[in-house]
């Protein structure tokens, strides 16, 4: 599911990176507040564990093998915030040192695998576990959680791929980045993840969970009843809706904005229309004079709506983080850490 370089436009990458910034911040703050300093090294070692688990081949029926990300497992073992950081670090090392996934696409990859995957998986796991208290229910919860988690992540990746040809093409209609539209990218990504990779993730997660449960049951007690799970649910829905929201907003903007943008582009020549308030990465597109004016409104609408979405997200995160802090302080005083 690692998105390589050049399949996403730099502006998409910048938007995804910008979305991840508050997530990382929140995860870091949460981890700093929640995890006692004795367990600080565990973050790095957890990341090493996460990295290695992505290298591992899981045996599947019929003699085939598959890779797992293990995001849901990490979220259950370490908590979703720490899982987010661990997977981020693992993805960074993969991208920089092993060429797995692009550097510019790092934000997008983190969004899919370090954020959507563990948070969705954890949320589903907790919701089912709350309702079914038997041991079998717990296995079911973690199986379904990991399955939905990886598929949600794959879906986000598919949407990121699929919106590229809609927004980024030249005058001749030739795609500049990923050439496959949503109608191709979604089935192409989802068929594999609904079957083989989904299965690999479920096998990986339940098998290791089962092993740890048998050998060291005490491990799982510490996470019980911690955190506000409706909060995770809200966050997950919000984030999952973002790419779709971007898509819808972008086309809507494109419908009414052309005249304005044309004017701006004519007056200011090449560099005149770099909007200073936009994200850094988005302005790279503005260097292209041969990028026909007819397609610019789409781009602008897309970026503008993305910036608005991002700003809203940051605001929401700030508001939510105030709740989180309260929770943590309460836990701290009772835990005596």
């Amino acid at each position: 599911m690692h998105i390589p370089e050049n399949y996403l436009s730099p502006s998409t990458c910048a938007v995804m990176g910008a979305v991840m910034l508050p997530v990382w911040r929140m995860a870091l703050q949460k981890v700093k507040a929640e995890i006692p300093k004795e367990q600080l090294p565990l973050l790095g070692i957890g990341a090493a564990f996460s990295f290695l688990s992505m290298m591992f081949n899981v045996p599947l029926p019929g003699g085939t093998t598959g890779h797992a990300v293990g995001g849901t497992l990490l979220a259950v073992l370490f908590g979703p915030g720490a899982a987010c950081l661990a997977i981020t670090v693992a993805l960074f090392i993969q991208a920089v040192f092993f060429g797995d996934g692009g550097i510019l696409a790092f934000g997008a990859n983190c969004f899919n695998m370090a954020f959507v995957l563990p948070f969705t998986g954890y949320f589903v796991y907790k919701q089912i576990k709350k309702r079914v208290s038997s041991e079998r229910g717990e296995y079911l919860a973690i199986a379904i959680g990991s399955y939905i988690g990886i598929n949600a992540a794959a879906f986000c990746a598919a949407v990121e791929f699929g919106i590229q040809p809609i927004f980024f093409h030249n005058a001749a209609g030739q795609a500049i980045y990923c050439p496959y539209t949503l109608s191709i990218s979604i089935p192409a990504m989802m068929i594999g993840h609904l079957t083989l990779f989904g299965l690999a993730e479920v096998v990986f997660t339940t098998a290791i969970y089962g092993y740890l449960k048998k050998t060291s049951a005490g491990l799982f007690l510490e996470h019980k009843g911690k955190g506000n799970f409706s909060l995770y649910g809200l966050l997950t829905v919000l984030i999952l809706a973002t790419p779709i929201g971007l898509l819808a907003d972008g086309t809507a903007w494109g419908e009414w904005a052309p005249e304005e943008i044309v004017k701006v582009a004519h007056n200011g020549a090449n560099l005149g229309y770099i909007p200073s308030g936009l994200e850094n990465g988005s302005s790279f597109e503005a260097f292209f004079p041969d990028y026909t004016v007819g397609t610019l409104p789409d781009l602008f609408g897309y970026i503008l709506s993305a910036v608005i979405g991002t700003a809203l997200l940051i605001i929401i995160f700030k508001v939510l983080s105030s709740f989180v802090k309260d929770k943590v302080n309460y836990g701290k005083s009772s835990g005596g850490v």
Partner: protein
């Protein structure tokens, strides 16, 4: 002296041929983990923490990646290719092969993924993306093969990455080696001990990872105790400040030159 009588079955010639078993997943995992351990160890990844900063080099690479990714005509890409080839020429044959292999492999995969897009009438995307993929992967592997990995993570501070994250990066690189060795030993053990058909084999991987996880907790406790002994109070700080060297400015100038070239080429054509 008493004569030892060997039991009859020892005289019999045995024709035991173990049944074939599919253990792809073990062999594949061994190969993959061994490869990673090899590449980390080779460049001294588990070595010193006090590495040199290479801010300029990273900045140049990032600028190059962004410009290459957003370029729309082949003239600029050819310029980038020329530049990269010049740097490539100065590498030793061994490193050169590593870089070339990585770039061509990535290009090949990209070609395979994009091949169906020809039927969608997207030939240009095919050429552009494959070309760009080769260039960007080459640039990245040039950066990685010519620098110590701890310098790379250390230099992230220049880009305002929090200290805690950099600490985690360094720790992760170290522990990939340590944990990877644990996994590798267990994988070897399973492979050696399962002769013929072993139905338990599939169940074994959960054990390997379970043990690896428990081991990682143990290691983290030990690490914390070691840190405490050295005066760790819960705050992670690196003392030495980031200093820009003359070398860095050379890379800055190169990056600016690349930017001007980009504006010129993409603007004129």
């Amino acid at each position: 002296m008493k004569q030892v009588i060997l039991p009859k079955w020892l005289y019999k010639e045995e024709n035991y041929e173990p049944q074939q078993d599919r253990d792809f997943f073990i062999s594949k995992s061994i190969l993959k983990i061994a490869h990673i351990l090899f590449s980390i160890k080779k460049q001294g990844g588990s070595g010193n923490f006090s590495a040199q900063f290479i801010t300029g080099k990273i900045l140049l690479t990032v600028v190059l990646l962004v410009l290459t990714a957003s370029a729309r005509n082949s003239a600029f890409l050819l310029c980038v290719l020329a530049g990269e080839l010049i740097v490539l020429c100065r590498l030793s044959a061994e490193k050169l092969l590593v870089v070339l292999r990585a770039a061509l492999a990535a290009g090949g995969v990209s070609l395979l993924i994009l091949l169906p897009s020809i039927w969608l009438g997207q030939q240009q995307a095919l050429l552009l993306i494959v070309g760009k993929t080769i260039l960007t992967v080459m640039a990245m592997s040039l950066l990685v093969t010519t620098t110590a990995w701890h310098s790379l993570t250390g230099s992230l501070r220049f880009f305002r990455v929090p200290q805690l994250l950099i600490f985690i990066f360094d720790l992760t690189l170290k522990y990939i080696v340590l944990l990877g060795e644990v996994c590798l030993q267990m994988l070897y053990a399973v492979k050696l001990r399962s002769v013929g058909k072993n139905r338990q084999k599939k169940r074994v991987f959960a054990g390997i990872f379970g043990v690896a996880f428990l081991k990682s907790r143990e290691m983290s406790e030990e690490m914390y105790q070691a840190m405490c002994c050295r005066g760790f109070t819960g705050e992670y700080r690196l003392e030495n400040h980031i200093k820009l060297r003359r070398y860095d400015f050379f890379y800055f100038i190169l990056a600016i030159f690349l930017l001007i070239l980009y504006i010129y080429i993409e603007g004129v054509l």
